[in-house]
């Protein structure tokens, strides 16, 4: 079994100005389902190619099961990869495709076929074995590609590069489920690259959020939702993402647009406060003014969008402005006034230069 | 992915270039020197052979004749092939596939088959020994080719471009000349390349359909060969000069060439 360890890993493409990856540190436990989440250009694919060996070694260290990957050929690393679009040997049958990596390893013809059949059964594509990939649908092709990647018995790491881009939403759920059960059975470590946070949150045990060549935060889905350590994580994870307001701290009181908002034990100075839509609630404004320490502030409601009902009450998103900035809350819609309102917060985080400030 | 050429490519290019190098070498030497000794470098290089070609009206008019019928042929081919290719790529009509096949089959016809009837046809209508005769005869091969290449390029342009232009209210001619043609200019470049490639290099028809006044350069060369006491130096110099127009054309369309080939239209 193989634990993956990246220490201080960097990469620059020749001729490019800024490094694509800079100083990555990450430990992925053996058998973990890990997701790399980030928008395009964040360096996810570069990291993947370094792991699989398609890009030459870079400064820093890559250890898989205690062994340095730098001096191993791509094919001997025990790494498999599934690409965004199904990549298959078009002139071979499905069975031939599934058996090919085994044949290259030198496995006997009979063992190859048996193993390939077993793989096909797990993926429920055993009825397609004699067909040519060109005659299959996109989704079926991707299943074969996944089978081809997972078929090797010596596998210790499986890389999935946005493998579900081509699939319809309904089938995505099924395939993700299949992938998870395969992963649990084989015990292989899986790294799932995606820009879709829903995919990451439902597939992975832990997620690394990547941005501009670095890892901002690694943690369980709950950690990313409840305790983002960087503004970008808060904004990128969650539907919709975190709200931010420009604020100032003066003697442990947080001021937004010179109006006291709530008490916050943080050193004085400028900062940004962030709160998730589900941590906030807009309600009608009572007659008396508030004290300035209870996280209540005046807001203007712009519009609301119904998402569904919760215990018979309509439930959805409310758009509003606070001190000139747009925010969104996620709440029951029965008590939302139109026009002048008050914003109540349960929880709040403060950020400086992007990073969270500990209270 | 390969970003640097394999050594095999260098080897192949040596094979390509050595005969051409030898041609250039001989073109810079006089006949006595050529017959006298074999040397890898001309000991006393001179441009006398080239000067003779430029000063001799037979040679220079040969060049002008060739370039004339190649140009006429290219223009005719493009003019008739553009509307036809557009029709084939955008519409289905009675007999379209059969027609397309029949056109293509002409590209494949052996020129030797048409030798005699062409000679008689053009003699009968008084076009024998004119640039137009050769240009028209070559059209038999270049027009199908032009339709084939242009249709490939046009088919790769989405039909929604036509529809968008119609919705925007552009007239048909504005659309065709200002929007559509610029969109397929790569294809036009490749077509010119192949029309040129056929018309410039062909000998059999050009020789049969010309007498003295429209005699092309390729024929001038063959007649020099058969004359007694061949002047190898002048022949080599003429050969070098016939390579130059081709080089110029391929240089201008080099970026579109691979796309043309990728469409499988050559």
């Amino acid at each position: 079994m193989a634990e993956l360890l990246l220490s201080n890993l960097s990469h620059s493409y020749p001729g490019a100005g800024a490094p694509t990856l800079s100083g990555l540190n990450l430990r992925i436990a053996s058998g973990e389902a890990h997701a790399l989440l980030g928008s395009s250009g964040a360096g996810k694919s570069t990291l993947l190619n370094l792991l699989s060996g398609l890009l030459p070694a870079s400064p820093g260290q890559l250890l898989l099961g205690g062994q340095d990957l730098a001096d191993q050929l791509p094919s001997s690393r025990g790494v498999a990869q599934v690409f965004q679009f199904p990549v298959l040997y078009e002139a071979m049958s499905v069975l031939g495709n599934l058996a090919f990596p085994l044949r290259v390893m030198g496995m006997s013809r009979r063992d190859c076929r048996a193993r390939a059949r077993q793989m096909a059964e797990q993926l429920e594509i055993d009825h397609l074995l004699e067909r040519r990939p060109t005659r299959l649908g996109l989704f079926e092709k991707q299943l074969v590609a996944i089978g081809k990647a997972l078929v090797r018995p010596d596998l210790s790491l499986v890389l999935l590069d946005e493998p579900l881009t081509a699939a319809e939403p309904a089938r995505k759920w099924r395939l993700r489920h299949t992938l998870k059960s395969l992963q649990r059975e084989s015990g292989a470590t899986m790294i799932y690259v995606t820009h879709d946070q829903t995919e990451a949150l439902t597939f992975a045990d832990r997620i690394s959020v990547m941005h501009e060549g670095g890892i901002l935060q690694t943690g369980s889905p709950e950690q990313l939702i409840n305790a983002p350590t960087h503004e970008h994580v808060g904004y990128f994870v969650g539907t919709p993402g975190m709200n931010f307001l420009d604020a100032r701290i003066e003697s442990n009181v947080c001021l937004v647009g010179d109006v006291p908002f709530g008490s916050l034990v943080v050193s004085p100075g400028v900062c940004r406060i962030g709160f998730r839509p589900e941590w906030a609630k807009l309600a009608g404004a009572p007659a008396q003014t508030h004290s300035g320490s209870d996280w209540i502030i005046a807001a203007d409601v712009i519009s609301q969008r119904v998402l569904g009902t919760h215990r018979g009450v309509p439930f959805g998103l409310v758009d509003a402005t606070v001190a000139g900035a747009r925010i969104v809350t996620r709440q029951p819609l029965d008590e939302v006034p139109s026009g002048r309102a008050q914003l109540h917060l349960d929880t709040v985080r403060a950020f400086r230069q992007g990073w969270v400030v500990d209270a | 992915m390969r970003t640097r050429p394999h050594w095999l490519l260098y080897l192949y290019c040596v094979y390509l270039l050595v005969p051409i190098y030898w041609l250039i070498n001989l073109s810079l030497r006089d006949n006595a020197d050529i017959l006298g000794s074999l040397s890898a470098l001309p000991s006393d290089p001179s441009f006398a052979n080239y000067l003779e070609i430029f000063s001799n009206p037979v040679w220079s008019s040969g060049f002008i004749n060739s370039l004339s019928y190649v140009a006429i042929n290219t223009v005719i081919s493009l003019l008739v092939a553009l509307p036809a290719a557009y029709a084939f790529s955008r519409y289905r009509f009675v007999g379209d596939r059969h027609l397309f096949f029949w056109l293509l089959s002409n590209r494949m016809a052996p020129p030797a088959v048409f030798l005699l009837p062409f000679f008689q046809l053009y003699s009968a209508i008084g076009l024998f020994d004119t640039h137009l005769a050769v240009a028209l005869a070559h059209c038999l091969f270049t027009v199908p080719l032009a339709v084939w290449i242009l249709e490939g390029f046009m088919a790769s342009i989405p039909r929604s471009l036509d529809e968008m232009a119609r919705i925007d209210g552009h007239s048909r001619s504005f659309f065709f000349f200002r929007i559509f043609l610029p969109a397929i200019r790569g294809g036009i470049g490749v077509t010119v390349f192949f029309c040129f490639m056929f018309s410039w290099v062909e000998l059999l028809l050009a020789r049969t359909l010309t007498g003295s006044s429209a005699k092309p350069i390729v024929v001038v060369m063959t007649r020099t060969v058969s004359a007694s006491g061949v002047d190898w130096g002048v022949l080599a110099a003429a050969g070098v000069l016939t390579i130059l127009p081709g080089l110029a054309v391929v240089y201008f369309v080099r970026n579109h060439l691979v796309r043309g080939f990728a469409l499988g239209r050559v």
Partner: protein, 285 residues
């Protein structure tokens, strides 16, 4: 869109091709069934000329030589062309220049190709011929049949391999990187990558390359005419040359016309194969 007015667009092409193809072809068919003594004396002979042509031993041997020549150049040019295409860099600024270099032989007038090889291979003034002579080989392409064939093959490979290479290169550049990456992770060897990744994706361009070379080599005339003149003896006389000598040299109009019609039909058959295979590929995508 169905619209028969599209015929208007096709009309100019039809007129020009009808003028330059249909009328001459009718003339040929007309001649092929008559015996012509002079402009006023013609006898209808039916299919006699066809029978005579098919029995003509010189034509049969020209056809055999033609088939041998065409098979040999296909066997040489297709693999070599693929090899050259694989040696080309895929990206970078030098690609354009390499392509220009490869395209040079395709743009040289065919008789100049003959002249270049004549000047290159002649035992007295040619670099190749003289070098071989000095090395002790008794090389003379105007006297030895084998020498003539080897020179002709070297010339045709020189002239046309670039076409195959350019086609194969276009096919190779159309293969997405992911295919190579996946194969490398599978541990596929270079040969396996070629056999299972590249070759299947080259089939359509290679079909075109094979058929183009097959048909064009079936019409070869100019280069052997300049280089060997069909000799020594008739050892390098191919179909076009035989036809030309019959029609222009001996003015045997009837047999020449019958020969032309048969020749045209053979090429038409090849062309039909070409067209259906290309269209099948196209419909499959």
């Amino acid at each position: 869109m169905r619209d028969n007015r599209a015929w208007l667009g096709v009309l100019p092409v039809l007129l020009i091709v009808a003028f330059s193809a249909v009328i001459p072809l009718m003339t040929v068919v007309n001649y092929s069934v008559q015996d012509i003594f002079d402009a006023n004396t013609r006898i209808f002979v039916g299919l006699d000329w066809y029978r005579e042509t098919l029995r003509d031993p010189r034509l049969q041997s020209a056809l055999l030589r033609q088939i041998l020549f065409s098979s040999l150049i296909l066997a040489l040019e297709i693999p070599l062309g693929i090899l050259v295409a694989k040696s080309l860099p895929r990206a970078g600024r030098s690609v354009g220049l390499w392509l220009v270099l490869l395209a040079i032989p395709l743009l040289i007038p065919w008789n100049v190709v003959g002249t270049i090889w004549q000047l290159f291979a002649r035992p007295d003034i040619g670099l190749l011929g003289a070098t071989l002579q000095n090395l002790g080989f008794d090389y003379n392409y105007t006297a030895g049949t084998l020498d003539a064939w080897l020179t002709l093959l070297a010339m045709d490979v020189w002239h046309w391999t670039s076409l195959v290479a350019l086609l194969a290169f276009a096919g190779l550049t159309a293969i997405p990187d992911a295919y190579y990456q996946a194969a490398r992770l599978d541990g596929a060897s270079r040969w396996q990558i070629f056999r299972h990744v590249e070759l299947p994706r080259l089939t359509s361009v290679l079909t075109i390359a094979v058929l183009l070379r097959l048909m064009d080599s079936f019409m070869i005339y100019t280069e052997p005419f300049v280089l060997t003149g069909g000799g020594p003896g008739n050892s390098t006389t191919f179909l076009s040359q035989y036809l030309t000598s019959m029609a222009v040299g001996q003015f045997d109009l009837g047999p020449a016309a019958a020969f032309s019609v048969l020749y045209f039909l053979v090429v038409l058959l090849l062309c039909w194969l070409f067209y259906t295979s290309v269209m099948r590929n196209r419909d499959a995508h």
